[in-house]
């Protein structure tokens, strides 16, 4: 019968095709060979914004910028310390006016020399309102920002008056206030230099960004993959140790991990929590788990009077003590998170302001004390807390459910806490922005630069850009102001820690855990590491 014959044929064809793909699956994506010319493939996510340096505020776009650009400073992949890259020296006498001298000899991959103008033009572009750069606020400390980027109305200037080119390789920066650690912030991608083609042919540049880093972009298939090639003209010491990197877009990190296991992908830098149990057996030693400058907290809506009355800090402390951080980080995260004991991150180091145990008993699991504190504070507002989070990215559901179960068990009420997923990240941000939160909500903070200032000021200073809960405390603000004005780094950090003490006493946000970067890689790779931003140090990776 004809139909049956068809079916048989189809089955055979399928079998042949299966066998063919099976044969082809072992070789990975490149030609192999250990001479530094081999290309590795790595997991990636579709960047959310155009790949302009001052417009990229998430880690996926950041990965590309990190390969394609080098700025004045660069954070040491191991220590996190800001080290001079293009900067020859950055001088100041008053912590407010800086003179920058850049090293000569740097070039963009199109041959153009990197000069002081490359920086000043790029920063002016980034700050200017008309260019819609989402990281414009990074230039907010520079004099004249309020003219090029007013809060409302149209801009009255196109360039920052605080920036002046004084020579081919020198320029000056004038800030609006004293900011002693300002030079250390300059390693952030938003401060990258830009070639003149960025301005003259913007559309072409966006299609294929050109920078001054160790890699050049070979091809970019939108929403699918990007091929980066080692740039042979790059002469600095941190040149690429491999022939290039192919970034492949994955919607689901589980699929990326599955691909890694099947030898279809070389590097996954975001291992799903559900697979962490298997990494030992799947990857043996080809797994790294290193601290990153990320802290997860639960923030509270202080615009809601239920959370902003006397005694509610006791409720927050009680909730904090009802969370069994050790158990959750062990079980759900398989130790890729470390229970938090302060509001910063261990990557800062003790010298940088990290203070283990600053939170004290308030961050230790103690169900009896937790129950007592919640009662003393007047009970949970409305009898129930809803922890709001976004359900589309980052598998937050698991830990929120676990936190809720922990609170429920501690308080002896299985409806005390319930997770409240919001469908999309955009909607989650919307609800936060419109002050619609009625209870604690997920607040993750990934540092922009490894300074204690970055963990405190943007999050807890009155009306700061990421102070989503609208927490406000005069003592805290005063201490931060003092710390910023302090020219002695050691003293400044002391003051920041005092300010952190204010956060603790009010339990402005419940610190949950410090997030590590975790990555797994194929047996073709060696020398794989993650920097403190949990981004793989691609240029150091050796293939073969």
């Amino acid at each position: 019968m004809r139909g049956a014959t068809h079916a048989k044929w189809a089955a055979c064809a399928a079998a042949v095709a299966l066998a063919a793909t099976a044969c082809g699956s072992s070789g990975g994506s490149s030609s192999g060979g250990g001479d530094g010319s081999a290309v590795l493939s790595a997991s990636w996510g579709d960047p959310q914004n155009p790949l302009e340096p001052a417009n990229t505020n998430e880690v996926q776009g950041g990965k590309v910028l990190d390969m394609v650009f080098r700025g004045l400073k660069r954070y040491n992949a191991k220590t996190g310390k800001a080290e001079d890259m293009l900067a020859d020296k950055i001088e100041t006498t008053d912590s407010q006016n800086f003179t920058v001298t850049i090293k000569s000899g740097w070039k963009f991959s199109n041959g153009e020399a990197v000069t002081a103008k490359s920086f000043v033009d790029a920063w002016n572009y980034g700050a200017s309102l008309k260019n819609n750069q989402k990281n414009a606020y990074f230039f907010g400390y520079i004099d004249g920002y309020d003219k090029v980027h007013p809060d409302s109305g149209s801009q009255s200037a196109t360039t920052l008056s605080g920036l002046k080119v004084t020579g081919t390789d020198t320029f000056t920066i004038k800030l609006t206030q004293k900011f002693s650690t300002f030079p250390d912030t300059l390693g952030y991608a938003a401060y990258s230099p830009l070639p003149s083609t960025f301005f003259s042919d913007h559309a072409a540049w966006l299609k294929k960004p050109v920078g001054n880093g160790p890699y050049t972009i070979e091809s970019y298939t939108k929403g699918s993959q990007m091929q980066l090639k080692k740039w042979d003209g790059y002469t600095n010491a941190d040149k690429a140790q491999n022939g290039g990197v192919t970034l492949k877009v994955y919607t689901d990190n589980n699929t990326a991990y599955t691909d890694l296991m099947a030898g279809n992908l070389d590097l996954v830098d975001d291992i799903p929590a559900s697979q962490l149990k298997n990494v030992k057996s799947d990857l043996g030693g080809r797994y790294i788990n290193t601290p990153a400058g990320i802290i997860q907290t639960l923030a509270f809506p202080y615009y809601d009077k239920d959370w902003n009355k006397s005694g509610s800090e006791k409720v927050r402390q009680g909730l904090s003590m009802a969370i069994n951080r050790d158990q959750i980080t062990d079980t759900i995260f398989q130790k890729t998170r470390t229970p938090a004991t302060d509001w910063t991150s261990p990557v800062l180091g003790t010298a940088g302001g990290f203070q283990d145990g600053l939170c004290g008993d308030s961050c230790k699991y103690d169900p009896t004390e937790a129950k007592k504190l919640v009662q003393e504070g007047g009970g949970l507002p409305g009898g129930q807390v809803k922890i709001t989070y976004n359900a589309d990215t980052g598998s937050h559901k698991e830990w929120v459910d676990a936190v809720c179960n922990s609170i429920n068990n501690a308080l002896g009420n299985d409806k005390a806490c319930v997770g409240n997923p919001v469908g999309t990240f955009a909607d989650f941000r919307n609800q936060i922005g419109q002050h619609k939160m009625t209870g604690p909500f997920r607040a993750g903070w990934q540092m922009d630069y490894p300074l204690i200032q970055n963990f405190l000021q943007p999050l807890y200073y009155t009306n700061a850009s990421s102070n989503d809960g609208q927490w406000s405390n005069k003592d805290f603000d005063k201490l931060v102001d003092e710390a910023n004005a302090e020219t002695d780094t050691g003293k400044a950090i002391k003051l920041f820690q005092e300010a952190e003490g204010v956060v603790r006493d009010n339990m402005a946000a419940i610190p949950l855990w410090y997030q590590n970067g975790s990555a797994g890689y194929s047996d073709r790779l060696s020398n794989v590491a993650l920097n403190p931003f949990s981004v793989p140090v691609y240029n150091e990776i050796k293939v073969g």
């Binding site: 069994n324 698991e398 409240n420």
Partner: protein
Amino acid sequence: MPEQPFEPERAIAGTGMGGAMDLATSEAETLEKTPGGPEGTGPQEKPRSLWSDAWRDLRRNPVFIISALVILFLIVISLWPSLIASGNPLKCNLAKAQEGSQPGHPFGYDGQGCDVYTRTVYGTRTSVTVGVLATLGVAIFGSVLGGLAGFFGGIWDSILSRLTDIFFAIPVVLGGLVLLSVVTSNTVWPVIGFMVLLGWPQISRIARGSVITAKQNDYVQAARALGASNSRLLLRHITPNAVAPVIVVATIALGTYISLEATLSYLGVGLKPPTVSWGIDISSASAYIRNAPHMLLWPAGALAITVLAFIMLGDAVRDALDPKLR
């Protein structure tokens, strides 16, 4: 008319993964098309005996008896879950996360250390509620609109049919992602509402087709000639004869709605805690498929059995109502 016999079959498709594509009559009625061949006499000639014949058939059909018993059991469990599960589905102990079967906990624990057996039993209520209410909503809304379109014809038919097409053209999963991603309520109502909103065209087309078929019968024409009012025609003469295909399709669709709820959960827009549902459990278990397959097996098995029972019931009813297969 060829529509009658295969409509139920076609209609099953509507709620499948890919969505809205039930086809049913599509344009066929509005076309000038030569009437069908030998088929088309259909069930409507002897309504009483059709139903009693069908019932006699069903009583002797083991498939019907088994699926009906399974459904009866599911309904009892939905109403009184504590009959067979003494635990609390919300009481979880993280220390036991992902552990397998052990005394007192035959299905093991899930990723949060909740008892899988208790959660599976308690999840029945949600899934059955979603399935039954969504089907009821779709059936009522769809058959009213479709029936009116078929009965009045003309401009009304054109308008309603185009409206049906519009809702048909939106892929179901896509619509779910868009509409449910903004929902903040943690009840079952938004999910049911969405299913009705995008599911009604499926029934509407079938109802329209069968009303048109029924309308052309001699006894309806006769009643009309005797001066029966429209409402009397619709209620007394047409509805009883047009309702069979709707019932069949609705039974089968019920299963697919239950399955759809799980898919929505997998995409992150399904039901929300503290609601306990198979969909929520299946989607969270799917991440642990390698380490703890038992977390997936039980809720997915319960879901499959439920869907299977409803589809088999629908199948059996269809066979019983279709005189040609007798």
